[in-house]
Symmetry: C2
Subunit: 188 residues, 2 copies
């Protein structure tokens, strides 16, 4: 028998799927994510704003099934670094993810685990980014409005935040003269 | 090394991904799909309009990877039946699909292969429909404008059109007093 929760709609007031509360990540949850630690401490001393949220859907499990989530990153910066997600690898490394931008302007920072190679790809309304298996991915909002997107991934993907928390991404997405650029963390 | 075609954007003039020509299905390609064969023949005698198109992306293959496609169904009817896609099962029956509506108004007709159970689920802007594994699915445009959507599925899903072509869906989506309803084909 077909399950009863096979359809859903986006609540644009709350940036979540109707009936599926979002998980919120505030500035204090992002310790270690920003390269400029002084700017991070300074920002935290002024408050603990919402940085991003995810509203996830897991309609079915097992081989071949899919999960998906609605993400929202608020606009803003810590020092010259744009608001960002923690970023993650999939626990099942082969698992890919398709991101579709629905509103706002931003980028995805991809880092292939095996080679360390980085890519910065535009994500915004009507733009799709493909995250292949074995690739760490972080999303950044470089615009003035919320960046909203949907990500679809295999049900068995799992989320590995630990590997990124330990070594972080090799590159930092930062504002340079009003334009977003990715620079090596070591040189930041 | 990360492949070079990991991002894409929607061309709203052509209803396709930029650089990825769409496959077109015209009325003459849909022989056997509509229940009212007299109305189908009559419609064909007046021309062979575009009914729907799909622009597909296959960025990577293998376990865990994903493919996706941009679909567009033109508005219109054959008799009282709305323009529709052929519909398909996935060759790998376990493979699910996530549909996200981008524009227009319509429905997805789901039919679980094992039980024959049908579901009619709304698909339109900001609505998501989950097609579980083992479920035939067809999309219909019940509105006055093009129905546009993205579907994401496992790279290994494959498309089985033959099973549907042979037995068709058990239900027909038809206009009844200005409202779309699904009725049994046998009673149509």
């Amino acid at each position: 028998m077909i399950s009863v929760s096979l359809s859903n709609s986006i609540d644009w007031e709350k940036f979540e799927f109707v009936g599926s509360p979002r998980v919120e990540r505030r500035l204090s949850d992002l310790c270690g994510c920003f390269a400029d630690e002084a700017a991070y401490g300074e920002a935290l001393s002024h408050g603990d704003p919402l940085i991003y949220s995810v509203s996830s859907q897991a309609p079915a499990d097992g081989a071949g099934q899919l999960h998906y989530g609605l993400g929202m990153i608020a606009p803003g910066r810590v020092g010259r670094e744009y608001y960002l997600t923690k970023g993650h690898l999939h626990a099942w490394r082969e698992a890919a993810e398709v991101y579709l931008g629905l509103a706002g302007e931003g980028f995805m920072l991809l880092e292939e685990e095996a080679t360390g190679e980085s890519r910065l790809l535009q994500l915004g309304k009507d733009r799709v980014v493909y995250v292949p298996g074995g690739t760490a991915h972080r999303t950044v909002n470089t615009g003035a409005d919320p960046l909203v997107y949907i990500g679809v991934y295999p049900a068995g993907a799992g989320h590995d935040y630990g590997t990124i928390a330990e070594k972080n991404f090799r590159q930092v997405v930062t504002d340079r003269g009003g334009r977003p650029v990715a620079v090596d963390r070591a040189e930041y």
